[in-house]
């Protein structure tokens, strides 16, 4: 598993650490054309999930409102207000809908997302 990761994924620079404000998402273009919505929550956690709202097809999740539902960190789409679990990408409205998530880290100067080298 570890080896597989090491050979097929890479950390890409998403933005400067200072650019990602608390609860205020940004969109990142991934190699291969996918888009990630990147968030930093109040408790300092970083999350990256698919920027495309699966209910509307629009690439807008980064522009949604970050919050929580009974302690679950969430992002609510700005279009029709569907809400997703930031950690797992699961839709809270229909459990079978799930967004892709990617690992994120903050190097101290740069926020990075780990993605497959090529588009899936």
């Amino acid at each position: 598993m570890t080896t597989a990761y090491a050979t097929s994924t890479t950390w890409i620079d998403a933005c400067a650490s200072s650019r990602l404000h608390t609860d205020d998402g940004i969109a990142v273009l991934l190699p291969g054309g996918r888009q990630a919505a990147l968030f930093r929550t109040r408790d300092g956690h970083l999350y990256a999930l698919d920027n495309i709202d699966p209910y509307t097809g629009a690439a807008v999740l980064a522009r949604g409102i970050v919050g929580d539902r009974a302690g679950t960190p969430t992002i609510t789409s700005p279009l029709l207000k569907h809400t997703f679990d930031l950690r797992t990408g699961h839709s809270l409205d229909s459990p079978h809908v799930r967004l892709t998530t990617w690992p994120v880290r903050d190097t101290g100067t740069t926020v990075q997302i780990r993605t497959p080298l090529a588009a899936p």
């Binding site: 404000h21 888009q35 097809g57 949604g64 207000k81 229909s94």
Partner: protein, 830 residues
């Protein structure tokens, strides 16, 4: 999966777990229940039926089953460690929790009279208590219940059924003092005595004396009486079981009970309390219905819901010793100047009292003894106008009042518009789930407004929770939050949620608080943290369209625009390839702008002298106008000039919802002012002001608030009206719904706005002055601030790359979004 521990497997704890299992379909919670009693939950309300032949099995509420539930019976929780989030039990088990629910119920209070702990002294709470009483009753001849309340009389009946000669001792001057009055109690005592129960009122027990065997044998009363008794049952009240909560430092009520807020959360955000153990807004409820309501709220909260518990009805109807007793509403007539209507028919064993408002039109409460058949009819009428002569309602042989037999369905709730309770219930069944919706579809409460409170009650009775909580993060209504922000000078959402809320907020409370902060004047809406609170459109000062592009609407005050400016708009639309359309508010909508194009578009608009039109904000949109006296041969005033002045005065004003306005230059009303939140119509003497109009989903014509005003008076009235709306409306409540829901309706509004009935007019006007003095164009501000401009990039790591998912086709010579591919799963919700 998270760990949920429930202490107490009584009625409410059981109901809670059932409700949670029902809601937690996704399986977030792993539930462990600790119950002290040797059996799983049973129907305590029906406890006395144990003496009527019911078995423990009959009373059982059933097993809580499921892969994620474990119930430990016969085990007591002995300590809570809040820091470690653990619960220790009598078997030495330690359970870790993410959330803890205390449903420990209550325990009968045993007064510390000498001898209270002798063998033969009992309480009446659990099946084990009843088994003990049954054992003791074998071979006994006499039993005494100390306490003549509801439970005491139930216990007395039990002793009677066990074949004992039974006494009841009550300290108050009469039986059931909490529920009924002297007159009702006199009848009750008469009936109870007739069943062979000896009632001693106005006296207390001073000691239980042992007999030769060391068992209880006598009871001494403070009136000098000594009763021979083999058995004593204490039933003088209950005490919430808050000992665990106290030991771990949770807040408790002065007279006991674990203090909870409307979300059933204790002073520790990880711990909830429900049922008889809980102390809510000064009350500990000793009834099952409020406990069940709390159980539902707690379950809802733990699964992401926003339900609230805001108190409960304590009306009771029971059959005590075969005697009907009911007590509801303000049974004791504690409302100032309330009037009583009493039928005390000792010959027919009937007592009935109705408590009415000081003008005898509204039922406030009542008491029925002997025959409580009218209870079902009367209780729902509490708070609403009586359908007829009150006496007729409680006189069995009197002429039946209109519809009284079939009440509540046919009871006329709104007499102005002849709306019955049945009409309201059917409207509720068809989805009218709040007062404004009920009013809109039935017209009830739209005239004199006096039945508005009754509508809320009927909604509650129909099971619709009228929650005022904004969401799971704030138990407050928008108005309450606004007052908190004003009073405390809080300037950030973070500070507000830390001091008055829980969690991190959501798409409901964040924009609501952002709007409150903006209404109270808190700088630019994209300053600092505020940017992250803004809803979809406010976040980028433009209206997001279905494909993630935006529309741009520059302000065109009063709809008046020079040809040069029109040309500028046309050129910008052409250069950025935008779709253009004339709006209903006399301005121009430019659609299809990408996020990163907005600053460039606005740079050109601002340069040409345009300002933000706030089409994206819950704020003033437009003041539409006709051409007025300047051109129109019918016009009587200069409507265009006034519209421009009003639009410039109120532009940028953030409100609970959008605000639309219009000015018409004569009674022909070409500007359609009566469909606006505020509309002005010229008269030959001045201006008439209309408020609360609405188009949209629920059209409503505006109401006339004041007539023939001079311009300065008109503006003062509008200032007050708008600020009063901003201060007191709910989140996303248009002025029309706000007025509909207002206690006293339009008359009250007029009193506040025109006659300054609340004495706040000067303050409202001052607030509006502050707004007008501090207004700046939001878009010009953004263009001048590199930090804010940085928000207008699509990709942080590729600022020059446009979003590849956005594509257009051409329809009728203009660009429109490519029809979206239909996705497999989408379901939209309102």
């Amino acid at each position: 999966m998270k760990e949920l521990v429930v202490i107490g497997n009584g009625m409410v704890g059981h109901r809670f777990v059932e409700a949670l299992l029902d809601r937690d379909r996704a399986g977030h919670w792993n539930i462990t229940v600790i119950g002290e009693e040797p059996r799983t939950a049973y129907d305590r309300v029906a406890l006395s039926s144990y003496f009527d032949g019911a078995t423990a099995h009959d009373l059982s509420l059933g097993d809580l089953t499921g892969p994620r539930v474990t119930v430990h019976t016969g085990e007591r929780a002995t300590a809570i460690d809040r820091a470690a989030r653990t619960v220790t039990t009598s078997t030495g088990r330690t359970l870790t929790y993410d959330r803890l629910v205390l449903a420990t119920g209550s325990t009968p209070f045993v007064p510390p009279v000498p001898g209270h702990d002798l063998p033969g002294c009992h309480v009446y709470r659990t099946l084990d208590d009843l088994d003990a009483i049954t054992d003791r009753a074998r071979g006994a001849r006499t039993g005494t219940v100390i306490g003549g309340g509801l439970l005491g009389l139930e216990a007395a009946n039990a002793l009677r059924l066990l074949g004992l000669r039974t006494h009841v001792v009550e300290l108050a001057p009469h039986l059931m003092p909490a529920q009924i009055d002297q007159g009702a109690a006199a009848l009750l005592e008469h009936l109870v005595t007739g069943l062979g129960v000896h009632v001693h009122t106005g006296t207390s027990s001073t000691a239980v004396r042992p007999g030769p065997t060391g068992h209880a044998a006598h009871l001494d009363l403070d009136n000098g009486t000594r009763l021979d008794t083999d058995l004593v049952v204490f039933s003088v009240g209950i005490r919430p079981r808050d000992e665990l909560a106290r030991a771990c430092g949770l807040a408790t009520g002065e007279r006991g009970g674990i203090t909870i807020d409307d979300t059933c959360t204790t002073s520790d955000a990880s711990i909830l309390a429900i049922g008889e153990a809980a102390h809510h807004r000064g009350t500990v409820y000793g009834l099952i219905a409020p406990g069940n309501a709390m159980a539902e709220v707690a379950a809802d909260r733990l699964t992401g819901g926003t339900a609230t518990f805001t108190g409960a009805d304590t009306s009771t109807k029971l059959k005590l010793l075969g005697v009907d007793v009911a007590s509801f509403g303000d049974a004791h007539g504690r409302t100032p100047r309330s009037l009583d209507v009493v039928v005390n028919d000792a010959a027919h064993h009937r007592y009935a009292k109705l408590v009415l408002s000081d003008d005898a039109t509204t039922l406030l409460g009542g008491i029925l003894v002997g025959d409580a058949g009218a209870y079902a009819t009367l209780r729902p009428m509490v708070g609403s106008p009586l359908p007829g002569d009150p006496l007729a309602l409680i006189t069995p042989h009197g002429a039946p009042p209109p519809g009284a037999h079939t009440l509540p369905e046919t009871a006329q709730v709104c007499s102005c518009n002849a709306v019955t309770k049945g009409d309201l219930l059917s409207a509720i069944a068809h989805g009218a789930h709040d007062v404004p919706a009920l009013k809109a579809c039935t017209k009830a409460g739209t005239s004199c407004g006096s039945c508005t409170p009754a509508l809320a009650q009927i909604l509650t009775q129909a099971g619709i929770t009228q929650t005022k909580a904004l969401c799971e993060h704030f138990p407050h209504s928008r108005t309450e939050l606004l007052e908190i922000v004003r009073a405390t000078g809080t300037r950030t959402f973070s500070a507000l949620i830390a001091s008055h809320g829980t969690g991190n907020g959501c798409d409901i409370c964040k924009p609501a608080v952002a709007s409150i902060l903006a209404s109270l004047g808190n700088g630019h809406i994209l300053d600092g943290e505020q940017a992250s609170l803004q809803d979809t459109n406010d976040r980028h000062l433009a209206n997001m369209q279905r494909n993630g592009t935006y529309s741009v609407v520059p302000r065109i005050p009063g709809g008046e625009i020079t040809p040069a400016k029109l040309i500028t708009i046309g050129e910008i639309a052409r250069d950025f390839d935008l779709y253009t359309k004339i709006t209903g508010g006399q301005r121009i909508d430019l659609l299809g702008a990408r996020l990163e194009q907005l600053p460039a578009i606005w740079a050109r608009l601002v340069q040409a002298g345009f300002e933000s039109g706030h089409a994206y904000g819950k704020s003033l949109r437009t003041v539409k106008s006709c051409v007025g006296t300047t051109w129109c041969r019918y016009g009587v005033q200069d409507s265009t000039a006034l519209a421009i002045r009003l639009e410039e005065r109120y532009r940028g004003l953030r409100a609970p919802h959008k605000l639309k306005a219009a000015v018409s230059g004569c009674a022909r009303e070409c500007a359609e002012a009566r469909s606006k939140d505020f509309g002005v119509i010229a008269t030959d003497k001045g201006w008439n002001l209309y408020v609360g109009g609405n188009g949209g989903f629920t059209p409503r014509h505006a109401d006339l608030l004041a007539t023939d005003l001079e311009e300065s008076d008109l503006i003062r009235h509008i200032d007050r009206f708008l600020m009063f709306y901003i201060r007191t409306a709910d989140r996303l409540q248009r002025t029309s719904a706000w007025i509909e829901a207002m206690d006293g309706g339009l008359d009250h509004l007029r009193d506040v706005v025109v006659h300054d009935g609340l004495g706040i007019a000067a303050e409202l006007e001052a607030a509006m002055e502050r707004h007008t003095a501090t207004y700046t164009d939001e878009w010009a501000d953004v263009l001048a601030d590199p930090d804010k401009l940085a928000r207008f990039t699509t990709f942080a790591n590729a600022p020059t790359t446009p979003d590849p998912t956005i594509t257009f086709t051409t329809t009728r010579d203009q660009p429109v979004p490519t029809t979206p591919v239909h996705l497999a799963m989408p379901t939209t919700r309102p």
